[in-house]
Amino acid sequence: MRDALFSFFGSGAPVAMAAAVVALVASVVFLRTRNFLYDALALAATKTGFALLAAALAAGVLWSRAAGGVWWAWDTRLTTALVCGLVYAAYLMLRRAIEEPTERATSAAVVSVLAFLDAPLAAIAIAWWRARRTLPPEGGPPPGWGTLASGNALAMLLAGAALTVILLRREERRRAQDAERRAALTL
């Protein structure tokens, strides 16, 4: 059980990271081409990554409880995942706060770039901070978790890709509806 929980976290978090890379690339391409398809892709990838990260974090907390007896032991990996989750939550909230589509897409793309650059710095800072604190040692990954996790990661990757495509189509449909509504209003 413990191994399964850890491998769920250990495979979910890297796939969330891959989603963040997709979101970054899509955001940069949007800023260069102003093609709203890439904005929708950035949004879909960020939402997918956020969902995977939330699931991975939940598994990580359960693993921490099962392995060390505490829900939250300021584990470097879990803390980094939480900080990344907060940064991407800010991205999603900003999108909700802006009405105008072009402004929303541009601002969101800028935040996406800044958020992506922040993640490695946060990971390093948290690792250094963790090393200085007198906290109980971190539970290491269980032996043989790699095979379990890599199969898991493949499944997660496929699920993530499917989710991204669904969200992308939904976003495009919404955009088309929005365009029609605007056209109707100007008539």
């Binding site: 800023l31 900080v83 907060l86 940064v87 939550a89 800010a90 909230m93 900003l94 706060a97 802006i98 072009t102 402004e103 541009t106 601002s107 793309a109 800028v110 935040v111 770039v113 800044l114 958020a115 650059l117 922040d118 710095l121 946060a122 390093i124 800072a125 948290i126 250094w128 901070w129 200085r132």
Partner: protein, 226 residues
């Protein structure tokens, strides 16, 4: 007009406007003193515990008071369409951004340098044992706060929920810089110089400043002009 001249013009314009109206700096100062006061009511700490939490307390105060100031940075230009005029003015967006950054930097630093002695008096802490190094940490940490705060201030200027969104965006991104600044400040207020065990925090602060200053200067044109 050369680039740095343009930066200076914007910075002095902002400083002059702020010193005449004092709308943000008064609020920011009053706010930081109130937080310092509230903390001492809440914890009643001894001198030793105070030193241990000094970095965290001070930087939370600075970050809160800072966003109060940064919120006004671009919002001040909205009435009378001043922002449109500034964007249309013959100066690059990065010069406008850098000028606003410098003005905010001076103002936030001023609030910090007033809060520090107040902190020392309220909590009975000799905070100035390592003053030059503490000043260096203040300068680096405040620059991180100002750069991130100013770019997000530009980004959120047209949003209805501006006052809510700015801290929501700023604090998570600032975590690496704030962590390092807090750690260094705690050590320096306790009287230990920066040594082998915490020089990495200083590197993190410098790296954060460089990375985000560079990226903000590149992206600000997109943020302001669209």
């Amino acid at each position: 007009m050369g680039y740095f001249r343009q930066v200076a013009v914007v910075a002095f314009k902002d400083l002059r406007a702020e010193l005449r109206t004092k709308e943000a700096i008064n609020a920011s100062l009053a706010f930081s003193i109130v937080i310092l006061l509230l903390f001492s009511f809440a914890f009643d700490p001894s001198e030793d515990t105070m030193r241990e939490i000094s970095g965290g307390l001070l930087w939370i105060v600075f970050a809160f008071a800072g966003t109060l100031m940064l919120n006004r940075s671009f919002a001040r230009e909205v009435p009378n369409d001043c922002l449109d005029a500034l964007i249309a003015a013959p100066l690059p967006a990065s010069a406008l951004f850098l000028g606003k950054c410098l003005a905010n930097y001076v103002l936030v630093l001023a609030v910090e340098l007033v809060s520090l002695p107040v902190f020392g008096v309220f909590y009975n802490v000799h905070w100035a044992k390592q003053f030059p190094e503490l000043l260096l940490v203040l300068l680096l940490g405040t620059w991180a706060l100002t750069v991130i705060g100013t770019i997000f201030s530009a980004l959120t200027v047209n949003i209805k929920l501006r006052e809510v969104m700015l801290p929501m965006l700023t604090y998570p991104i600032l975590i690496p810089a704030l962590m390092s600044a807090m750690q260094l400040t705690t050590a320096l207020v306790s009287g230990t110089a920066i040594g082998a065990d915490n020089v990495d925090s200083l590197k993190m602060l410098i790296g954060f400043d460089i990375v985000f200053t560079a990226v903000s200067l590149v992206l600000v044109e997109t943020v302001l002009v669209g």
